[in-house]
Amino acid sequence: MTTTTPPIATAPVPLTGAEAARVSDVKKVRRAFSSPIASLLVVILTVLWTVPTFGLLVTSLRTKADANSNGWWTFLAHPHVTLANYNSILFSNSFGGGGGLFPYMVNSLAICIPATLIPIAIASMAAYVLAWVRFKGSDFIFFVIFALQVVPLQMSLVPLLQLYSGGAHIGSFTILPKLHIAGTYTAIWLSHTMFSLPLAVFLLHNFMSQLPSSVIEAARVDGAGPMRIFRSVVLPLATPAIASFGIFQFIWVWNDLLVALTFGGGSPKVQPLTARLSQLTGSLGSKWELLTAGGFISIVIPMIVFFALQRYFVRGLLAGSVKG
């Protein structure tokens, strides 16, 4: 993406010394950042940053013999592409037991999609109510929800697991019965939802409370109830915030190993890609061409999600609604 800098209009009135100095400072900075040297620097940084990933991709496309005999950069001189690595890592049953990566990829999606949608659904409703429905203590509730963000999730792993498998009791009195969900998708979804809600409510609340109040009032006068205002006005206008949280949450869940491993109970039925990949580094430690293929697969999905949702980051979605 390229951005063009609009030319600075020359001021019609003569500027005072200080103002002129400030304007020229701004110009200086702007010029410094758009200078060829700065651009070159950015290009170099970008290339350096991308090289490891590129090496990963190249290695995954090479044959086993090539990968073992020389470095990936020789590929650039003698290109010889094969997709066999992908085929074997995804579908072959031949290594380490437990089959190829494909079922785990499906598992990962089965974890990620609900673990992203559930928090969005709950948090957007909570944020709307906290931001726009006037009731006593709403600020306090919001504060408490966000304060939960302070609790590190590692601290709650064991208590939560106990709750899932044993319920909650005081003496012989049962507060929560056994949920029987340890080792299922439900446990993983629930946990991810819980861990993400504070941040999600915070982000969406802050965005929603910035919506112009007159638009909400106009909807009220037009005859919309709270639910309708949420659905027809607030939700569409909050898409940039929802999309950014969605990307954030999806990538975090996709890359997560700890939560899935803890609450999935190590069962291959619910294990995500990350869990399987970390096992493979042990069993396939020497098979670089396969590991890199697996690694690249795990990058591709978040990238697709990112580029698909990126277009919702529209700036100026509110343009034209209210003046001033």
């Binding site: 106009a218 006068v221 037009d222 979605l317 609604s321």
Partner: protein, 361 residues
């Protein structure tokens, strides 16, 4: 079609002992164009929002069409509101914006479209029905906001300074359009503005508010000719009325070197007072050719073409007194620094109580 009545309506905000609106009594007839006007903080918008159901009616009640609506939700009041900043739904097209209320009411799509197109024709918006608000100019957005209200055919229109975001020329045009439209539709309208010119030109009647208290409700002519107190006198009219303290003598009031005869009812009402507040409109003066009358030291002349407004200090004014302004003919106005003599036209003065500001006589 309905009339609106505020009966001792009061709006108290939590934690603030001073009511935003203090026991307002106001009757707005069916089909009337009522303008609420006042300086900022006078509670005029609050009064409107109480009628809309966006602010609570703490005590008293508000009736629309004879029904007490004080505790009803906005959507159950059969009103439509035009907001100061238009408050269009930015993610909907013009047609969707205008049809939103009908859609919520469950009006079938065909009828909805017909009504939207009808209203769009009325407002010259047909070409823009598919556009989003951001692709419209300020004036067009304002018309969409109007259209959104018209489409609903409500019993009362509420308008909260709908013209304040337009440029001066467009404002004058739109002002006339809104007044025409209202006359054609015959819908009861409550219109809030801080601009007294708007108030005078648009309203059948004008209600002047100050600090949450209704000062006077009357036709624009009567407000101008017989303001009920010094506040209304100074607020209505542009430039504002000149107010000066004057010593009371047997048959009139003494201002500078001039004794102004006052009519009998005024003198009777002022019995017992030693001074009164004298109000004089800028156009109530003639410039004398000789050196009789009030002496005015000219500090500023605003030439408007047909007229010129002359600002200055009267001899005997204290320095912090507001400048005295008179209207002079545009052809040969006085110049800055001149000392001119002016005399007031008989019967054009207004007398107010010096402490309460109430009209005398």
């Amino acid at each position: 079609m309905a009339d609106v009545r505020y009966i001792n309506a009061t709006c108290l905000y939590e934690g603030n002992p001073v009511p935003a609106i203090n026991s307002l009594n106001l009757e707005i007839g069916d089909g009337e164009f009522m303008v609420l006007v006042g300086p900022s903080g006078s509670g005029k918008s609050t009064a409107l929002r109480m009628l809309a159901g966006l602010e609570p009616v703490s005590t008293g009640e508000i009736d629309i069409g004879g029904v007490n609506v004080s505790n009803r939700a906005p959507k159950d009041r059969d009103i439509a509101m035009v907001f100061q900043n238009y408050a269009l739904y930015p993610h909907m097209s013009v047609a969707e914006n205008m049809g939103f209320a009908l859609k919520l009411k469950g009006v079938p799509k065909e009828e909805r479209d017909r009504k939207v197109v009808e209203a769009a024709k009325l407002l010259d918006l047909e070409k823009y029905l598919d556009r989003k608000p951001k692709a419209l100019s300020g004036g067009q957005r304002q018309r969409v906001a109007m259209g959104r209200a018209i489409v609903r055919e409500p019993s009362v229109f509420l308008m909260d300074e709908p013209l304040s975001n337009l440029d001066a020329k467009l404002r004058v045009e739109t002002r006339a359009n809104i007044a025409n439209l209202q006359a054609r539709l015959g819908t009861t309208t409550v219109y809030v503005t801080h601009d007294q010119v708007e108030a005078m030109t648009m309203g059948n009647r004008v209600a002047v508010l100050k600090d949450g208290v209704l000062q006077q409700v009357d036709t624009p002519r009567n407000l101008y000719d017989r303001p009920t107190n010094a506040f209304v006198a100074a607020f209505i009219g542009s430039p504002a009325m000149n107010l000066r303290q004057a010593k009371l003598v047997d048959d009139g009031a003494v201002l500078g070197a001039v004794t102004l005869p006052l009519p009998r009812p005024v003198l009777e009402a002022a019995k017992g007072l030693s001074t009164i507040t004298l109000g004089m409109r800028p156009e109530a003066f003639t410039i004398s050719s000789d050196e009789t009358g009030l002496a005015l030291d000219v500090k500023l002349v605003e030439e408007l073409g047909a007229d010129a407004y002359v600002y200055g200090t009267l001899s005997g004014d204290s320095p912090e007194e507001r400048p005295f302004v008179i209207r002079a003919g545009g052809a040969a106005p006085p110049r800055i620094g001149d000392l001119i003599h002016i005399s007031i036209l008989v019967g054009q003065e207004h007398a107010f109580h010096p402490d309460t500001g109430e009209r005398l006589g």
